[in-house]
């Protein structure tokens, strides 16, 4: 038995708990059956249910995107008419943002991984967590109903007065998103509470995995920003249903007020989408470089800085909307400030790789793709933050390309890095590295084919949300469309090899990547209650210079299953005594 000091400065009797390989019992084969899943309060199962839901919505949104790109093959009508086109781009945007991007990392991957990384058995409010999922489902059903009853053609931004006057089921759609917001808020509350209260002994704030810092910053934004969206959509509904003039000038309202409201949520929302991605990238780069993260505090605090400054830059969506020049100046200035912490992260990740032991497995490959594409997204953001240039580029395809480089090149690549990274822990199966890497390469090529030409045509003046366009842009549009088909092929391949992994995949080891992170110190798939012991943390999550045994400690005597062979390991921790937490 070894002795160590935990955060409360108590001495704890600890010993090593080696994760069991090929466990007979795990969370997937216990409490099975439809009813057990639907009423589960297990954060891992809820995470998987979210994962299935967002995969479904990503598929729908992706098909819509392919329809849009196909229509844009020719300058005039190709196969759908203008009204249908307008509805399709509205749905593509609304579905991808509200039903895929916002819940993708926090709700799906975050739910699965957060308690595991904290050494907790579940989130702080497991039932609330399940309620959040059902609120998400309810919001999704309302929105799907609005889609099938048809006709929402406002763009995902629902700008007034157009959205107040157009036909179509705008109210049902906004109501769906209104409901969805509560899911986001409750998840945020749950995560913050869990991070504050349920950390394992010894897991002090300076040992918190950077993924936790990312989710923590995200949760703060979710709680503070989402209510504003709810208020905005409620006001919009009041205007449409009750004829109360708030945004519609015909009734004495102000359409620019709507834009302020909308972007006060929606700009922080892009940080809801990207900040948890930063967390994943930190985990993946450190794990596959097998090296301590460079600039832990720089990365952790820059996430919080982005979360904070991100609240103050919404006006940069309105440089041409008619707000005052002074407001434009302030928003432009703050926009550049938010670029700095983002740059700091990129440099810290690169420095982490320096002199590392880099294993270019699929998650790492996606992290590298993320670095490249997100950097382009960042630089083009600087371009759009520059006032004089933004006047030219605003509402053109340049913005479309920038947004997709940040959201798809950044966020989706980070999500895929996380998905491939935690896949073995989720399902206890490995996927084919060969096919996964080929798919990543195809995706990378397809992505750049699709969105690089959009920078050029945007600079040349091609406006966004155009059903018809002038002939000079046809070459770019066609190339872009072919690129989108390549992306489509890549996702089909991904679906196939992941399904193959689920059905026939090789069994995963508890810690296939040799990571020091806590979630890898339990068996794969994870046990039903995560840890049968109370884990004790004495090292930082990226301390690759310390032996693996020091990362598998738990309070001695709390092990109920009593696998005899574990006791043999106790001696190897003896040297770690008297660590200052």
């Amino acid at each position: 038995m070894a002795t160590t000091e935990a955060s409360n400065l108590k001495k704890l009797q600890v010993r090593r708990f080696k994760p069991e390989e090929n466990p007979e019992k795990h969370y997937l084969n216990q409490e099975t059956g439809i009813w057990a899943w639907m009423t589960t309060v297990d954060h891992k199962k809820i995470g998987l249910m979210y994962l299935a839901s967002i995969a479904f919505f990503f598929f729908i949104g992706g098909v819509l995107a392919l329809l849009l790109r196909t229509e844009l093959l020719t300058p005039a009508q190709t196969f759908i008419d203008a009204d249908v086109y307008n509805q399709v781009f509205t749905l593509h945007g609304a579905i991808m943002i509200f039903f895929f991007l916002v819940p993708s990392v926090p709700a799906a991957l975050g739910n699965f991984i957060l308690p595991l990384q904290l050494g907790a058995k579940d989130v702080a409010f497991p039932r609330l967590n399940l309620a959040s999922f059902y609120i998400y489902v309810a919001g999704a059903l309302f929105t799907l109903y609005a889609i099938f009853t048809g006709g929402v053609d406002t763009g995902w931004t629902f700008y007034t007065p157009y959205s107040a006057t157009t036909g179509g089921n705008v109210m049902m759609m906004t109501f769906g998103i209104f409901i969805l917001g509560f899911s986001s808020i409750l998840t945020g509350v749950n995560f913050i509470t869990t991070i504050h209260k349920l950390r394992a002994p010894g897991l002090t704030w300076n040992k918190l995995p950077l993924n936790m810092w990312g989710l923590y910053a995200t949760s703060i934004i979710q709680i503070l920003a989402t209510p504003v969206l709810a208020i905005t959509l409620l006001l919009l509904t009041m205007e449409r249903a009750l004829g109360i003039g708030i945004f519609d000038p015909n009734m004495g309202g102000d359409p620019v007020l709507y834009q302020h409201f909308f972007w006060f949520y929606s700009h922080p929302a892009v940080y809801i989408m990207i900040v948890p991605g930063f967390g994943i990238i930190s985990e993946v780069i450190s794990t596959f470089s097998r090296k301590i993260i460079f600039g832990y505090w720089a990365i952790a605090l820059s996430s919080l800085a982005i979360a904070f400054i991100g609240f103050l830059v919404w006006g940069h969506h309105m440089f041409t909307a008619g707000q005052s020049s002074l407001a434009n100046m302030v928003f432009s200035f703050l926009t550049f400030l938010v670029g700095i912490p983002t740059g700091i992260k990129i440099f810290n990740w690169l420095a982490t790789m320096y002199k590392g032991s880099i294993d270019m497995k699929t998650p790492m490959l996606y992290a590298m793709i993320f670095l490249f594409l997100f950097t382009i997204g960042g630089f083009t953001g600087i371009m759009l933050g520059a006032l004089a240039v933004d006047i030219h580029l605003h509402d053109t395809y340049y913005v479309v390309a920038h947004f997709h480089y940040v959201m798809m090149g950044g966020m989706v690549m980070a999500f895929l890095a996380g998905l491939h990274y935690w896949w073995p822990k989720m399902f206890g199966k490995m996927y084919s590295e060969y096919w996964a890497k080929i798919t990543a390469a195809i995706l990378f090529v397809g992505f750049n084919m699709t969105f690089l030409p959009q920078f050029v045509m945007g600079s040349q003046g091609m406006p966004r949300r155009y059903f018809n366009y002038i002939d000079q842009f046809q070459g770019f549009h066609q190339f872009s469309t072919y690129g989108s088909y390549v992306i489509g092929v890549a996702f089909v391949m991904m679906f196939i090899y992941l399904m193959h992994s689920l059905l026939r995949g090789e069994r995963a080891k508890a810690n296939p990547w040799g990571s020091r992170a806590l979630e890898w110190q339990v068996s794969s798939p994870a046990p039903l209650h995560n840890f049968d012991h109370t884990p004790v943390i004495i090292n930082g999550p990226y301390d690759y210079h310390k032996p693996m045994s020091e990362f598998q400690l738990g309070i001695a005597g709390s092990h109920h299953n009593g696998h005899g062979h574990h006791h043999d390991e106790a001696a190897s921790v003896a040297e770690t005594k008297q660590e200052k937490a």
Binding site: G295, G322, F372, M383, A388, D395
Partner: protein
Amino acid sequence: MNRLTEYMLPPARSVTAENTDALFHFINVTSIILLLGITVAILLFSWKYRRRSEDDVTPVISHNNKLEITWSVIPLILVMIVFGWGFSGYMDLRTAPSDAYEIKVIGKSWLWEFHYETGNVSVNELHVPVDRPVKLVMRSDDVLHSFYVPDYRVKMDVLPNRYTSLWFQATETGESIVFCTEYCGTAHSNMLATVFVHSQEDFETWLETAGSADDDMDPVERGEQLVTQYACATCHSSDGRSLSGPTFQGLWMSERTMVDGEVVIADENYIRESILEPNVRITEGYDPVMPSFAGSLNDRQIDAIIEYIKTLQ
């Protein structure tokens, strides 16, 4: 690199475009240099520090404050340059010279109407003199629109409840395209106009002749011309196709069913009312999206349009 950014931009045809383009170029070049650096680092590290054995030992480099400060301060300086440059360029764009020639612009779904000091009105054609600052004072009749001329690097949203403005000074005669860049519904992408830049003399000639010469034309021909000129054809076909509005073909003296069930005959008064107060009676199956042309079309022009519609049986 110079040629790359030049390729990316449309021709520069206003006095302010040059500054915008220079900043665009500066950001592109700086970004590409930094991106290359980052890409080289990614590739180099991935190769040079690739895992050689499972027992690789990595050095403990937890942080380096000098480095952190370096890569915070240098980008900070760069973005502050970009900020100052962008802001000063923006102030130039916002500050119209006091001697600017003023034209009123009205955005309607889905056309642009231009009202000149002399009382002339043109639709989807903006006529301006070269080498003289022009200030557009703009408003919308319905939803948001945005007035964008890529060649001039200017753009401003057009709002229903207030005036917005922009100015430019064209540096060469010729034509430039105008786009609507704020999504405004079905025919958003057809809400185009053309800027015609004339020499001062030609511009004055145009002001004198425009809108008057064709009063002598045959009413049917005149009507056909007006239907194109005032962008009626964006929503109303003359060949039976149903666009955002009902077709003109077979409209004359037909029985129309309104959304409230009322049945009316499409006679002169109905057509006149539909042009001046389009939302009083809405034909079944269509949305109330047509803007009013009161003040844009005079009585003789409306007569001509009616004469033209009569011929489309």
